[in-house]
Every structure is written in C-alpha cells, then in structure tokens.
C-alpha cells in the first residue's frame, strides 16, 4: 500500500529545517493582536509589517461596532449558501454599495477573496474558452483557471508584447478569450502596465479581468484600484477584489457591467456551494467600504508610509522587488537559509514581515516581504528600516543583495 502522505515527505523535511533555524515562519502564532500594527508574538510586543492591512482599519470603532451589532441582530453565521437560505438583505446591500463605489452595474460578493477569483474565473470561462494569465498570477487565479476547464495560456509577467504574440498565434476555435491581470502583484509589489495591455485588447479583442486584491482601496483618486489610477476602467470588463486587505475583514467580490453578469450566481460553483459570508463579515466590510469612500486621507498616509519605507530600504542598499513604490515592498535575499535567518533575526528584534520562498515566488526569489499600513506611524517605519539595517549589519542576512 502506498502511503498517501509519502508525496509530502519532502515538504515535511523542508519545514523541519525551517523550525531548526528558529520560529515557524509559515505559521507564526499571534498570541494577541493589539492594533493594526502591533501584536504579542513569542511573549513580546512586535511591529506588524506583513499583514496586508493597508488601511489599518481592523480596529476602527465603527467597523467593530457594526460587526458586534450584526452578530447580535443576525446571528453568528448564515448556515447556508446564497442560492439556498444564505442571502440576507445585508449581502445585497453590500453588493449595491460596492457596485456604486466601483461605478459598475453589478457586483457579486463571495465568501473569501480566494473564492472570488475561483468563482469569477470558473463562471466566466468554460472548456471551449481560453484564459491568458500573467505568469506571476496569484494561486487563486491559477486554481480558478483550472476549475474553469478552459485552455490556459501563460504569458510573461507584465509583458504586453508577449501576450500580443501568444494571442496572434492562438486559434480561438469559436471559444471566448479572457485575459487576467492583477493591479498590484502580491510578491514584488509591481503594477500591471494596464495601458499597454489595453492597446493589445484593441488589436485582438478579448474580455479583460483585473484582480485588484492588493490595489482596491489603495490606488486611484477614488481608491477603486489600478484601473482608476490609470484612467482605464472602461476597458476592464471585470473587476475582482477582496475584503481581507484594505477592507480589513474577510470575503471578496466580482463586479462588471455585462447584462448577463447576474447569471454567474447560478453558474459558478464557488458561489453556489459554500456558506455565504457571515453577518459580522458583511457588516464590517460595509462599514469599511463606506470609510474608504469618505476618507481619502488613509490612502495619502499609506502612500507617505510606503515611500518612506521604500526610500529607507534603498538607503540601506537593499534590493527591492520593483522600482515603483506600492504598499508591498519586498526585499530580495540571497538564498533560503539566509532569508530564514534574517526573518528570525527581525522577529527577535521586534518586527514581523512575511517570508516568501520558491515556488511561491517568481523567478525562484527568496523574499522578506513587507506590507505597509496607513496605521503605521513614521516612527514605526523608521524603526522597521533601522531593524533591517541592524540585521543586515550583524551578518544574519549574509549580505544585502545589490549593495
């Protein structure tokens, strides 16, 4: 008999090596969360610089109160899917709120951000269609593509000419074509060059889905994301987003203007066969989205903090994931052992960042990935830079790449 776990033995061995070098970098315990930027980890107060809590809205008193009231009034869970007993007025109210925020005719809320990509991709594309996806796409996009059964063609990251080439040699054989891009890519923090892709769209004709998971609430005059920032919203047929980053809750959404958009509710399995978002998730998301609309100063603070961290790292001689400032600032490290050593040294010094290792990263990169929050103070940012500097100088990181 073949042991089903045998195929995972190498994962266990790799994980044991990580644990031998220090804390569990891929499952660290937060004993308490004190604020959007502070937690108690290993018994001490730690600066959080890897939470995707871009707007720092998780402890906003109005959002907390909205969640508490929703639990008291509507209960702890919906105990059913949207197509059975799980559609409450609040789900529809949030969908209308988001559609209004995005300037779209339709919006569908999903239970998680991961499911939003699964649901949208599997609903839009079928076995006769082809999805062209950026090579650096998030796993939820890859998984959604697989679930759709569509033919999958991968193009080089952020390379509109490469997409153009692949579209040119592709025979759609009567099927539809969907191109999937992300507003901000989660590992390196770079944006899609949307204008170049829109030019390709004008040449070839396809439908375009933009995942604004890391850019919704963050980019654009109105906070609607990269399409808003680039002034190209009309060219993006479908927008996907999540509540687990700038909205500080859990859930996700898909939005668009297509007249048949609402039929996705009856055609896509990740929407139909899972419990709908809990009342607390919906109520906190609603309160947060309303805050994002009327508090552009959060975006301004986030931008200022991001620029400060980016410049701080550059002055230390660290090589970052990309040259454009975004709230995702990844530091490139030489190899896996030194990345793990640096991560532990940073944690011991009082700052938590994400560790990102192959194959979860593009180009086999080993990264210490920071995400900035509007709730960070300049003192927090300076402290993060200072601790990175100390850790690099102490030799934990062996060297600063590019220094």
């Amino acid at each position: 008999m073949t042991d089903l776990f045998e195929k995972h033995r190498h994962i266990a061995e790799r994980h044991e090596k990580m644990l031998a070098a220090g804390a569990n970098a891929v499952g660290l315990t937060n004993d308490r969360i004190l604020s959007p930027t502070r937690a108690i980890i290993k018994g001490r107060e730690t600066i959080l610089a890897g939470t995707n809590n871009y707007m720092g809205i998780t402890f906003d008193p109005d959002c907390v109160a909205a969640g508490q009231e929703a639990i008291a009034e509507f209960g702890t869970g919906t105990t059913g899917s949207r197509i059975a007993n799980g559609t409450y007025a609040m789900h529809q109210e949030l969908e209308r709120e988001l559609a209004g925020f995005l300037g779209r005719k339709h919006c569908i809320v999903f239970t998680t951000g991961y499911q939003a990509n699964l649901g949208m991709l599997a609903g839009l594309a079928g076995p006769k269609d082809t999805i062209f996806l950026d090579a650096d796409s998030h796993s939820s996009i890859y998984d959604g593509c697989t679930l759709s059964g569509a033919k999958l063609v991968r193009f080089r990251h952020n390379d509109a000419a490469d997409l153009d080439k692949r579209l040119s040699r592709h025979d759609p054989e009567g099927g539809g074509r969907l191109v999937v891009l992300e507003g901000i890519y989660s590992m390196l923090g770079d944006r899609a060059p949307l204008d170049e892709f829109v030019d390709v769209k004008k040449t070839h004709g396809f439908q375009l889905l933009l995942d604004e998971a890391h850019s919704f609430g963050v980019l654009g005059t109105n906070g609607r994301g990269l399409a808003d920032e680039a002034g190209l919203e009309e060219h993006c047929d479908f927008i996907v987003g999540t509540f687990s980053k700038s909205v500080g809750a859990i859930g996700g959404f898909g939005a668009g203007d297509h007249p048949l958009f609402e039929t996705l509710r009856y055609a896509t399995r990740p929407y139909m066969f899972t419990a709908s978002p809990s009342p607390a998730s919906i109520a906190t998301s609603m309160a947060a989205v309303r805050k994002l609309r009327v508090q552009p100063e959060r975006r301004d603070r986030l931008r200022g903090n991001s620029e400060r961290l980016f410049e701080g790292f550059r002055k230390l001689g660290l090589e970052t994931g990309c040259d454009v400032v975004s709230p995702v600032i990844a530091v490139k490290c030489p190899d896996e052992p030194s990345t793990i050593a640096m991560w532990n040294a940073l944690l011991d010094a009082g700052v938590y960042v994400n560790i990102a290792l192959p194959p979860g990263t593009p180009g086999k990169l080993c990264l210490l990935r920071c995400s900035v929050s509007a709730a960070h103070t300049f003192e927090d940012i300076d402290r993060i830079v200072e601790l990175f500097g100390e850790v690099v100088a102490s030799g934990h990181g062996l060297m600063a790449v590019g220094a």
């Binding site: 082809t130 090579a135 063609v153 080089r156 040699r169 592709h170 194959p359 593009p362 086999k364």
Partner: protein
C-alpha cells in the same frame, strides 16, 4: 524516433539546461519534474521557453499528461505539424 524527433529532443535538452541545476542526464524517459527535481513554476517557465522556441502554444492543461521528455517531444511534434 525520426530525425525530426531527434532535433526536437536536442532542442528541448538545450532549453532545459538552465533548469537542470543538478545536471541530470536527459533521456527520452526522463521525468521532467521528478527526475530533475524542479518545482511546478519552473516547469511552466521551461514550457514557456519551449513555446517560444517552436512558436507554438502548449496550454497548461496539456502538461498534466506530459511527464517525460518523450511526452513533450510528442506534444511539440503534434503542435508543429
């Protein structure tokens, strides 16, 4: 193998070199992912090089049934013919 198959195999070996960090000897029966111990993303990156070299599309769906170098030669033959 036809001459054409030989040429394709040689081209694939060359394209695979940057991903074959353990310098595993490449044969027709070599399993690309397991024998070379390369992860799923690297396999996809390698296939992208193959697509561009032969100017063909190899949809990712095809890869689930493509394990050995011989499998990949067959895919290239089919898609270039």
């Amino acid at each position: 193998m036809t001459a054409s198959d030989d040429e394709i195999f040689s081209a694939l070996c060359e394209l695979l070199t940057p991903f074959n960090s353990n310098n595993v000897e490449l044969k027709l029966e070599t399993e690309i992912s397991t024998d070379l111990n390369i992860d799923s993303v690297s396999v996809m990156d390698f296939v992208m090089e193959v697509e561009d070299h032969f100017d063909i599309d190899i949809p990712l769906n095809v890869l689930s049934d493509t394990h050995t170098m011989k499998d990949l030669v067959s895919v290239v033959v089919e898609r270039t013919s």
